[in-house]
Symmetry: C2
Subunit: 1011 residues, 2 copies
C-alpha cells in the first residue's frame, strides 16, 4: 500500500508536464529539466539513424520462432496478414493507451543502459541476472532465455521470377499450407549465431538504410509460463551484430523485450509498435542514446506525448493507413527547446531561430537578385564578380554533365531548338526576302548558342530568336526597302550600336534594375511567352486545314466525277508566258527555264505547278482539295501532344518499377515523337516534313558570310542607327534578364548562382558577331530554357520507405547546352534522318512546351481559382492568408496587363513591346497602393528581406499585443517557405510561460477550486 502510494506520487510527478500543473510546487525536477540536461550539450556528433525491427513470437504447436512483423526507418512498414508482403510505408498511428502502457513498462521493467554485450545469449543472461530473485523464479529464467533464443524468421522480398516459380510449384504439388510457407520464407539458422546469414547479406533492403545506422530490436510475445510480463530495455555500450536477429546486417544498439502471459497478444503488439515508433523519433532516439537512467527515458516519452498529434476517434478510422506526408517538421525545432540551459531565454531563441531561417531563405532565395545585383561602385564590378563567382564552378560544369539524364535533355532541347530555328528561319526569310533564311538561322543558333553555353554565367539558358526580334526585323526591312537604305548594312550598324549599349549596361551594372522584377512581372512575361507558343502551335495546325483543304462534298460513289485536268492556254497567252520566262531568267540568272518549248508540251502530263507555270489552267472538282493530309496532321499534332502529357504523368502511375517509370517520363517527348514519326511512316502520307538545308551557303545568293560595314548607306545612317538600336537594346535586355530571373528562381535550388552581368555581356558580344555575319540576333528563350531546366531536375534517389523523394536541384552544367547547339550546327548533315519528322509532330511538341511552362506559374494557378468554388480550391499558402477577393483582384490586374500586351504584340506597336514590359514594373509598383504589404508578400512574394522586416516592425508597433504573436510567426513564412509548398507555421505549445509566470495561467485555479 505504501509502495503504491509512492508509485502514484512518482507517476504524478513524471507526468506533470502533460498535466500542466504548477510545476515549481513539485519536489522533483520535471521531465523537461531532465531533457534539457541530457540534450543540452550540442557538441556531440549526431547520433546514428535508428532502424527498428519488431519481431513477434509465433507458436507452432511446441515450436516457437520469432517472426518479423514490422519495421521502421522513418515510417512503419508492416508485414501483412498473408505474411508475404510488406505494407506500404505509413505513419504509425498509435493508441494513447499503448503509449501509457509502454510508459508503465519502462517504469517497472528492467532498464539496462550501456550494457557491454557481444552476443544475444550473453545479453539475455546479464539481463535476467539483474532481476531480483524474489521476482522471477529460476525455472522461469531458463524458460525466458529459451524463448528469447529462438530463431528469427525475416520477411524478405523475393525477385518476381522466384515467386512465379513458387506458384508453379504450388500448383503442381498440393502440399500443406505450412510446408509451403517454410519453403517460401527465408529462414535464419536454428539458433542465433554471431554471423549474419546469407539471406541477411543478400537482402537488398540494406540500400535503404543509411550506412551508419544502428538497429533497435523490439521483441514482443506471449508465453504461457509467465504470470506477469517480463519487460527489458537494453542499450549496448557498443553496437553489436547479433547474428540473425535483425533482417539486415546492421549492428544492434537497442533491445526491447516484452514477454507476457498469453491472451493479450494484441496489447503487447501495440506496446511494441509504440516503442518502435519512439525509437525512430528523432528526439526520443537522442534521449535513448544519452539517457542516464530510467527516468530520462520516461522524460523522453513525456516529451513525445507532449508533442503528439491527436485525432478524435469519431473523425478518423484508426485502420486507415496514413500516407507519409510530403514534408515532416524537423526535429530541430523540438530539440532547440532543450538545447539551452536557461529557461528564460527560450522564447527569444525560438524567435531568433525563425528569423535566422528566414534570413537564410533570403540569402539564396527569392531576394537573390537583390543581393547578387547590388549596385557596385566599381566599373564592371558586377561582371568581375560574376566571373569570380562562376570560375570555380567551370570544371564541374563539364564533368557534372555526364549523366544519363543529360541524353534525354539533349534530345528534347535539340528538337525544340531546331524546330525553333526552322520556324523562325522560315519566318525571317519571309520577312526579309531571304536575306536571313533557314540556313542563317541554323548557323546563328549553333554558333551563338554554343558560345553562350560555354562562357555565359547561366549555361542553363538557351538562346533563340524570339518573336519581338522577328517583328523588329520585319519592320526594319520594310523601312529600308521603302527608303532605299541597304538593309544588311543598316542592320549591322544597329546591331553594333545595340551591342555597345549592352556592354555599357554591363559595365554600369545596370542589371540591378531587375530587382524590381517581381513575380508579377516575371509571371506576366512568361505567361505571355507560353501563350505565344500555344497560340502559334494551334495557328499552324489550323493553317494545315487551310493549306490542305478537305473536300467535304466527296461521295465515294461519284469518284468518277472528281478529276483535275490541266487545260492548255490560248496561243496568245503562251507568247505572254514566254516573255515572262525570259524576264524572270534574266532577273534571277537562272538558266533552267530558258530552253523549254512550251508549245510542244503534253499538257495532261504536267503537274499542278508546271501547269500553272506554263500558263495552263486547272479545271476539275478535285483541283483545290488535298485529301487526308489535314486530318493526318491533326492526328499527329494532337497525338504527339497528348501522348507526351500522358507519358509525362506516367511517373505518378502505379505500374512498373520506379526507375522504368522515371525513364519513360524523362524520355516522354522523345518517345512520343518516335511513335508518331513511326505512325506517319506507316501511313506513308505526304505530310509536311521538317526540311533542313543540306548545303552550307547563304540562303540568298547575293550575300556572303560577312557584311561590310561601310559603303552602301550615307554616313549619317551610321549614327542614326543608334536610335533604333536603343529599342533593340531594351528588348534584348528585358527578354534576357526576365528569362534569367525565371531560370534563377529560388524554386530551382541552383547552387552555382546566377551571372546576370556575364550573360548580358555575352549576349552583347554575340550580337555584334551576328551582325557582322548577317545572322539573326539571339536572346534567352523563356520556354525552352524552362524546358531545359525541367529536364535536368534531380531528386533524391534513396530515401527511407515512405519518405517523398526530395527535389535536390538542377543538374547545372554546360554540356547539354553545348551538345544541343553543336548538334543543331551539324543538323545540316543529319537532314536524311530529320526529314522523316513531320512538322505537325513538332507543333505538338511546341504545344506541350507552352502548356508545360504554364504549369509552374502561380498566376495560372490563380486564374484557375476563378473557376473553382471556394470549398474546392487547393490549399495554397496564399489562400490561407489573403482574402480571396484580393487574390482575384490581383489576378484580374495581371490578366488585363496581359491582354494589353497581347494586343500590342499583335499590332505594329509590337516594336514598343519591350517598353511595355518596363511598364509592367510600373504597374506593379502602383499595386503597392492598392494592396497591403502583407497581401503582396504572400501573392507576389518578392520583397527583399530587409524591407519586409521593416514593414513587419511598423505593423507590430501599430497593433501590438492582441494578435501579435500569431501574425509575426505567420509572416515569416512567405520568405522562408517556397511559393508552392506552404511551410507550416510553427505552433509552439507555450509550455515555458506557464512555468515562468505561474500566477497567470489557467492552471492556478486548479489548486483553489479543486476543493
Amino acid at each position: 500500500k505504501l509502495e503504491l502510494d509512492k508509485f502514484k506520487l512518482e507517476v504524478k510527478n513524471r507526468f506533470v508536464t502533460v498535466w500542466q500543473l504548477p510545476l515549481e510546487q513539485l519536489p522533483l525536477s520535471p521531465a523537461a529539466e531532465r531533457l534539457r540536461y541530457i540534450l543540452g550539450e550540442d557538441d556531440d556528433p549526431p547520433n546514428p539513424t535508428v532502424f527498428t525491427e519488431m519481431d513477434t513470437l509465433q507458436h507452432d504447436g511446441e515450436e516457437m520462432e520469432w517472426k518479423e512483423s514490422a519495421r521502421w526507418i522513418k515510417f512503419e512498414e508492416k508485414v501483412e496478414e498473408g505474411g508475404e508482403r510488406w505494407s506500404k510505408p505509413h505513419v504509425s498511428t498509435l493508441s494513447l493507451h499503448s503509449l501509457f502502457e509502454l510508459r508503465t513498462c519502462l517504469q517497472t521493467g528492467t532498464v539496462l543502459l550501456d550494457l557491454d554485450g557481444y552476443s544475444l545469449p550473453q545479453i539475455i543472461g546479464i539481463n535476467l541476472s539483474q532481476i531480483e530473485d524474489g521476482l522471477l523464479k529460476p525455472e522461469l529464467r531458463e524458460k525466458i532465455s529459451y524463448v528469447l533464443l529462438r530463431k528469427h524468421r525475416h520477411q524478405t522480398k523475393k525477385p518476381i521470377h522466384r515467386s512465379l516459380a513458387d506458384i508453379g510449384k504450388s500448383v503442381s504439388s498440393n502440399t500443406s499450407e505450412f510446408t509451403r510457407f517454410s519453403h517460401a520464407q527465408s529462414r535464419s539458422m536454428n539458433d542465433i549465431t554471431d554471423t549474419p546469414s546469407t539471406d541477411q547479406l543478400k537482402n537488398k533492403f540494406i540500400k535503404k538504410i543509411p550506412k551508419d545506422a544502428e538497429a533497435s530490436n523490439v521483441l514482443v510475445g506471449e508465453v504461457d509460463f509467465l504470470e506477469k510480463p517480463f519487460v527489458a530495455f537494453v542499450r549496448l555500450i557498443q553496437s553489436t551484430m547479433l547474428g540473425g536477429v535483425t533482417e539486415v546486417p546492421v549492428p544492434t544498439r537497442f533491445l526491447f523485450i516484452l514477454l507476457g502471459p498469453s491472451g493479450k497478444a494484441k496489447s503487447y503488439n501495440e506496446i511494441g509498435r509504440a516503442i518502435a515508433t519512439l525509437m525512430v523519433d528523432d528526439l526520443f532516439s537522442d534521449v535513448a542514446y544519452k539517457a542516464r537512467d530510467r527516468d530520462d527515458l520516461i522524460a523522453g516519452i513525456d516529451e513525445f506525448l507532449d508533442e503528439v498529434i491527436v485525432l478524435p476517434p469519431g473523425e478518423w478510422d484508426p485502420n486507415i493507413r496514413i500516407e507519409p506526408p510530403k514534408k515532416v517538421p524537423s526535429a530541430e525545432k523540438r530539440k532547440s527547446v532543450f538545447s539551452l540551459n536557461e529557461a528564460g531565454q527560450m522564447n527569444g531563441t525560438a524567435g531568433g531561430a525563425a528569423g535566422g531561417s528566414g534570413g537564410g531563405g533570403g540569402a539564396n532565395g527569392i531576394a537573390a537578385p537583390g543581393t547578387l545585383l547590388r549596385v557596385f561602385p566599381r566599373f564592371c564590378g558586377g561582371l568581375y564578380l560574376d566571373i569570380k563567382r562562376k570560375l570555380p564552378w567551370f570544371p564541374s560544369d563539364f564533368y557534372e554533365g555526364f549523366h544519363i539524364q543529360s541524353i534525354s535533355a539533349i534530345l528534347f532541347i535539340y528538337l525544340g531548338c531546331i524546330t525553333n530555328a526552322i520556324t523562325f528561319g522560315g519566318l525571317l526569310g519571309d520577312a526579309t526576302d531571304n536575306y536571313q533564311g533557314v540556313m542563317e538561322s541554323f548557323l546563328g543558333t549553333a554558333m551563338a548558342g554554343s558560345l553562350f553555353c560555354f562562357f555565359a554565367g547561366q549555361p542553363l539558358i538557351i538562346l533563340s530568336s524570339t518573336g519581338p526580334i522577328l517583328i523588329f526585323e520585319k519592320l526594319l526591312f520594310d523601312f529600308s526597302k521603302g527608303n532605299s537604305i541597304d538593309y544588311m548594312e543598316f542592320r549591322l550598324w544597329i546591331g553594333l550600336h545595340s551591342a555597345l549599349q549592352c556592354l555599357v549596361l554591363v559595365a554600369t551594372d545596370a542589371s540591378f534594375i531587375i530587382k524590381y522584377i517581381t513575380r508579377f512581372t516575371e509571371e506576366g512575361f512568361s505567361t505571355l511567352i507560353s501563350f505565344i507558343f500555344i497560340y502559334d502551335a494551334i495557328k499552324k495546325m489550323i493553317g494545315a486545314f487551310k493549306y490542305y483543304p478537305i473536300n467535304a462534298d466527296f461521295k465515294a460513289d461519284y469518284v468518277t466525277m472528281y478529276k483535275c485536268e490541266c487545260i492548255a492556254p490560248d496561243p496568245g497567252e503562251i507568247a505572254q508566258y514566254i516573255n515572262n520566262i525570259l524576264v524572270y531568267s534574266l532577273q534571277h540568272f537562272d538558266s533552267k527555264y530558258n530552253a523549254i518549248n512550251v508549245t510542244v508540251l503534253d499538257w495532261t502530263q504536267l503537274s499542278k505547278k508546271e501547269c500553272l507555270k506554263y500558263g495552263g489552267s486547272l479545271v476539275g472538282k478535285s483541283c483545290k482539295f488535298v485529301p487526308d493530309l489535314a486530318l493526318m496532321s491533326f492526328i499527329l499534332f494532337f497525338g504527339t501532344y497528348s501522348m507526351t502529357v500522358t507519358l509525362k504523368k506516367f511517373k505518378f502511375s502505379r505500374y512498373f518499377p520506379t526507375k522504368l517509370r522515371k525513364l519513360i517520363s524523362d524520355f516522354s517527348i522523345f518517345m512520343s515523337i518516335l511513335m508518331f514519326v513511326g505512325l506517319d511512316v506507316l501511313f506513308g502520307l505526304n505530310t509536311p516534313k521538317l526540311q533542313v538545308p543540306t548545303d552550307f551557303k547563304p540562303t540568298r545568293l547575293d550575300r556572303g558570310w560577312f557584311v561590310f560595314p561601310f559603303g552602301k548607306n550615307p554616313w549619317w545612317i551610321y549614327l542614326a542607327s543608334a536610335l533604333p538600336a536603343l529599342l533593340v537594346t531594351i528588348l534584348i535586355f528585358m527578354d534576357q534578364q526576365i528569362t534569367a530571373v525565371i531560370v534563377n528562381r529560388k524554386e530551382h535550388k541552383l547552387r552555382k548562382a546566377a551571372g546576370y552581368h556575364l550573360d548580358l555581356f555575352w549576349v552583347g558580344v554575340l550580337m555584334a558577331v551576328c551582325s557582322f555575319m548577317g545572322l539573326p540576333w539571339y536572346v534567352a528563350a523563356t520556354v525552352i530554357s524552362i524546358a531545359h531546366i525541367d529536364s535536368l531536375k534531380m531528386e533524391t534517389e534513396t530515401s527511407a520507405p515512405g519518405e517523398q523523394p526530395q527535389f535536390l536541384g538542377v543538374r547545372e552544367q554546360r554540356v547539354t547546352g553545348i551538345i544541343v547547339f553543336v548538334l543543331t550546327g551539324i543538323s545540316v548533315f543529319l537532314a536524311p534522318i530529320l526529314k522523316y519528322i513531320p512538322m505537325p509532330v513538332l507543333y505538338g511538341v511546341f504545344l506541350y512546351m507552352g502548356v508545360a511552362s504554364l504549369n509552374g506559374i502561380q498566376f495560372w494557378d490563380r486564374c484557375k481559382l476563378f473557376l473553382m468554388p471556394a470549398k474546392h480550391q487547393p490549399d495554397y499558402a496564399f489562400l490561407r492568408h489573403v482574402p480571396l477577393r484580393r487574390i482575384h483582384l490581383f489576378t484580374l490586374v495581371q490578366i488585363i496587363c496581359l491582354a494589353i500586351l497581347w494586343i500590342l504584340k499583335s499590332t505594329v506597336a509590337a516594336i514598343i513591346f519591350p517598353v511595355m514590359i518596363l511598364a509592367l514594373i510600373l504597374v506593379r509598383k502602383m499595386l503597392d497602393f492598392i494592396f497591403s504589404q502583407h497581401d503582396l508578400a504572400w501573392i507576389d512574394n518578392i520583397i527583399p528581406e530587409r524591407e519586409k522586416k521593416k514593414e513587419d516592425d511598423k505593423k507590430k508597433k501599430k497593433k501590438k499585443g492582441n494578435k501579435g504573436e500569431e501574425e509575426s510567426e505567420d509572416e515569416v513564412c512567405p520568405c522562408s517557405g517556397g511559393p508552392r509548398f506552404p511551410t507550416p507555421s510553427v505552433i509552439k505549445i507555450p509550455m515555458e510561460p506557464v512555468q515562468s509566470d505561474p500566477q497567470n495561467g489557467i492552471h492556478c485555479i486548479t489548486s483553489k477550486y479543486s476543493a
Copy 2:
C-alpha cells in the same frame, strides 16, 4: 497543501482508465463505470445532432467583438487568416496538451447542467452568480458580463457577384483596411437580441445542418482585466435561440466559455477547439446530454482520450489538414461497451455484435442468391415468391422513376440500345439472308424490352440480342439452307421448345444453380463480354480504314494525275450484261433496270456503282481510294471515347460547383455524342451515318409478321428441334442468370431484391412470342445493364461538410427501361434526326461502355497487379490478407479460362459457349482444392455465411490459442465488408479484461517494481 494533495488524488482516480492501474484497488468508481451508468439506458430517443460554433474575442482598440473562428458539424471548418474564407472541412487535429488543459478546465471551472435559461444575459447572470464571492470580485463580474454580451460577427458566404462588386469598390476607393473589412463582413446587431438577424436567416449553411440539430457555442478570448481564467460549461434544460450568437438560427443547448488573462490566446484557442471537437463526438455529446455532474463530463473526456488516435510528432506535420476519411467507424461500437450493466458479458457481446453484422451482411449481401434461390419444394414456388416479393414495389417502380437523372440514363441507354439493335440487326441480316434484318431487330428489341421492363423481376436488366445467339442463328440458317429445311419454321419450333424448357426451369426453381456462380464465374463472364465490346468497337474502327482506303502516295502537286474514269466495255460484254439484267429483274421483280439502253450511255457521267453495274471498268489512280473518311472516322471514334472518359472524370475535378459537375458527368456520353456529331456536321464529310429503317415492314418481302408453325418442314423436325433448343436454353439461361447475378450484386445495394425466376419466365414467354413473329431472341445484355445501373446510382445529397457522399443505392424503377424501349420502337420515326449520328461516334460509345464495365471488376484490378511492383499496389483488402502469389495464381487461372473462352467464341465451337460457362463453375469448384477457404473468402468472396462459419470453427479448433483472437476478428470482414472498400477490422483495446483479471496484466508489476 492539503487541498493540493486531495486534488492530486482525485486527478489520479479520474485518469485511472488511461493509466491502466488495477482499478478495483482504488476508492472511487472509475470513469467507465460512470459512463456505463449514464449511457446504459438505451430507451431514450437519440440525442439531436450538435452543431458547434467557436467564436473568439477580437479587440479593436477599445471595441471588442466576438468573431466566428471555426465551426463543426462533423469535421472542423476554420476561418482562414484572411478572415474571408472557410477552410476545407478537415479532421480536427488536437494536441494532447489542449485536451488535458480542457480536462483541468472542466474540473475547476463552473459547470451548470440543466440551467433554465431563455436569453444570454440571463444565462450569464446565473452563471456568474454561481461563483463564490471570494473567487471573483464584483467589478470583474460586471466586466465579464460586458465582454460576453458583445456582438457576434459571423463568417457568412457571399455570392460571387457581391464579392466582385466589392472588388470594384475596393479598387475605386482606396479606403483603409478596416473600413473595408467591416463593409465586407455581415454584422449581427450591436448587442445580443433574442430574435435571429436577417443574416442568420439568410445563411444557406442551415441546409447542411440536420433539422433537429442543437447548437453548442464555444466562446474563448483573452481579456486584460482577468488574472485567472474564467471557465464555464452550461447545458440548458431546453435548447433556446440565443439571438445573434450562432451563425444560423439553431437553438443553443450548450455553452462553453473560457476567458483568460492576455498573452495566451493560442492556448485558449486550442482548448476551445478541443471542447468543440468533443461536442461533435457522438459518444461525448451523448455524455454531455446525459451527464449528471462534472465528473460525468470528465469521465467522457477520459473515454475520449482512451479511444484517441495518436500520430507521432516526427512523422506528421500538425499543420497538414487531414481530409475527412471516406468512412469513419460508427460510434455504436464505442457506445456498445457501455450499454451493458455487467462487465463480464462485455467480450461475448462484442463478438456477438460482430457476428450479427456479419449475418446481416449475408442476408442482403453476396449470399443473396443463396437465400433468394432456395430450392422450394413447391411447384413454381420460386416464381410465386418472386411475384409476391415484387408486387408491393410495383407502384413505386413507376413513381420513383420521375427524376432528372432518369433522363440522362434514358438517353445513354437508348443510344446504346439502338446502336446495338442496328449492329445486331445488320449482322443478323447478313447471317440469315435478311430473314431477320434491322427492322426486325428494332421491332423485337422494342417489344421484348418494354414488356420485360414492365413485368420482369429485375427491371434494371436491359434485354438485347447477344453474340452467342447471333452465332447460333448463323449456324442454324446455314444448316437449314444446306439441308433444305425451312429456316423460319425450324427456328420457330426451336424457339418454342426452348421457351418451354425455360418455363420448366422456372417451374422447377432450377435457378438455384446460380448460387454456384461465384465472383470467379461472374467476373469471367462479364470480362469476356466487355472484351467483346472493346474488340468489336476497335474492329469496326479498323474496318473503316479498309472500307475507305487512304491513298498514301498522293502528292498534292500531281493532283492532275489522279482520276478515275469509267471505260465502256467491249460490245460483246455489253450483250452479256443485258442478259444479266434481264435475269436479275426476273429474279427480283424489279422493273427499274429494264428499259435502259446501255449502248447509248454517256460513260463518263456514270457513278462508280452504275459503271460497274453496266459492266464498265474503272481506270485511274484514285479509283480505289476514299479520301479523309477513314481518318475522320478515327477522330470521331477516338474523340467520342476520350471526351466521354474526360467528362465522366470531371465530377472529381475542382472546377465549377458540385451540381454542375455532376450534371456534366451524368450527361457525359450525351454531350460527347452531341459534340462530335456537331464536329461531323461542321466538316460535312460523308462519314457513315446511323441508318434507321423508315418504313414499318419486314426486311425481306417474302415473309410476314407471323410465322406459321406447320406445313413447310417434315413432322419429325418439330420434335427434333428440341435438341438444338436445349443448347439455346442453356445459352439463354446462363446469359440471363449471370447478368442477373451481376446486376443484383451486393455492391449495388438494391432494396427491391431480385426476381430470378420471374425474369426467366418472361424471357421464356418473350422467346415464344418472338419466334412466332420471326423476331430475334432476346436475353439480358451484361454491359448495357451495368451501364443502366451506373447511370441510375444515387448518392446522399446533403451531408456534413467534409463527409463523403454515401452511395445510397440504385434508382430501381421500370420507367427508364420502358421509355428506352418505347423510344427504340418509335426510332423509325426519329430517323431524320438519328441520321446525323455518324457510326464511328457510336463505336466510340461502345468502346466506352466496354472499358467502363471493366472498371468495376475485381478480376481486372487483379490483372493490373501483375504490372505493379508490390510497394505501389493499392491497399485492397484481399492484398492485406492473401499472399500475393496466391492472388496471382488465382488471376492466372482466370486469365487462362478467359483465353480458352475467347478462342472458343472465335471458332465454330462458339455454339457450345454456354456449356463452357457451366464448365467455368466446375473449374471454380476445383479451385477449392488448390486454395484455402480463407484465401477464397477474400478473393472470391461468395461463400454462403453458414458454410463459412463452419470453416472458421474447424480452423479455430485446429490452431487454437495463438493467433485465434486476431484471425477470427479479421475473418468476419470479407463477409460484412464490400469487396472494394475494406471494412476495417475492429481493434478493441482490451480495457475490461484488465479489470476482471488483474493478476494477469502487465500492470500488476507496477505495484511491485515501483519501489
